[in-house]
């Protein structure tokens, strides 16, 4: 006959299997910090394109003379996104190797799909609206859609991602009520929040 210890061991192994099989645990916290820094760097460049020599916190009209700047901004955004995804992938690959699992497993596939649907639909909507001249929509919508993607994706990875998502949604909504201050909110959401999130994750799980 089995002893209590054996039953408890069985239950513990069930719990661990269920959790590990649905969660992508290789997501690197360090990559959060690094992409936050890229975003802050990108924001700084955007600031020099748009605001200089005015202060970042002064109100600015976003209606006039944007076409020349839009292509530059788009370039900055794509470079920041590419660098973030690249280092995120590279660092997660390293973490996966350390944990002895493969990076491309059912949990990460689920996470990828969960993130892709809100991000792609949000991204396309933003591009369409920018083409039509609604520049003010960009920063708040980026934050809201990114937040929705994180909330959706959080079921396949760490629970902290859910809180990051909710914060991004909140920031996006507040940002929408302050037209002209998009860059400040964008830098907070994509820069500062990623650094805070990455640091929390790094100290909680990776040290």
């Amino acid at each position: 006959m089995q002893e209590t210890q054996d039953y408890e061991k069985d239950l513990a192994s069930i719990r661990s299997m269920m959790e590990r099989s649905v969660k992508f645990v290789s997501l690197s916290g360090l990559s959060g910090i690094i992409s936050g820094m890229y975003a802050l760097g990108g924001s700084l460049i955007v600031y020099f394109i748009l605001y200089d020599p005015n202060s970042l916190f002064n109100f600015r009209f976003y209606y006039e003379d944007e076409n020349s700047a839009v292509s530059k901004l788009l370039l900055v955004a794509i470079v920041v996104l590419g660098l973030s995804l690249g280092s995120g992938y590279f660092l997660s690959l390293k973490k996966a190797k350390k944990l002895g699992v493969s990076i491309w497993n059912p949990a990460s596939k689920q996470l990828f799909i969960d993130l892709l649907i809100p991000l792609l639909s949000g991204g396309l909507l933003i591009v369409i609206l920018i083409v039509q001249g609604y520049y003010g929509i960009a920063a708040p919508s980026c934050l809201v859609f990114y937040g929705l993607a994180l909330v959706q994706g959080s079921r396949s990875t760490f629970k902290e991602v859910r809180y990051l998502g909710l914060i991004e949604i909140g920031l996006g909504l507040i940002c929408a009520t302050f037209p002209g201050y998009g860059l400040v909110f964008w830098a907070t959401g994509f820069g500062l929040m990623h650094i805070v999130y990455g640091a929390v994750m790094y100290f909680r799980y990776e040290r």
Partner: protein
């Protein structure tokens, strides 16, 4: 109260089979290689236990090809889920009883 030993399932008494069922109950489907990796067993060992579960109709097998390589996916059947849940209840009750 019902005897908790009656809830326990003989097939699931083996830890590898219990782990396979845990993964399949928590996920829609899982493929062979991912199962092998997460449970940490050899090909042959996993295949044996999968066959045992398949024979009892606790899991169903879906074979397909991805890039011309065979890709086999497994799903827990309704019967499998029910047995798994009962087994879990049984374990829980036994632990509670023995703690008293």
């Amino acid at each position: 109260m019902k005897n908790p030993f009656e809830l326990l399932d003989k097939i699931l008494a083996h830890s590898v089979r219990l782990q396979i069922m845990s993964v399949l109950v928590a996920n829609d489907s899982y493929d062979f290689n991912s199962l092998k990796e997460i449970i940490g067993v050899t090909d042959g060992n996993l295949a044996t236990h999968i066959k045992a579960l398949e024979r009892e109709k606790y899991i169903s097998v879906f074979k397909s090809f991805v890039d011309r390589k065979p890709n086999t996916k497994y799903k827990a059947t309704d019967r499998g889920r029910l047995v798994f849940k009962k087994h879990l209840d049984g374990l829980e009750q036994l632990i509670k009883q023995q703690r008293k």
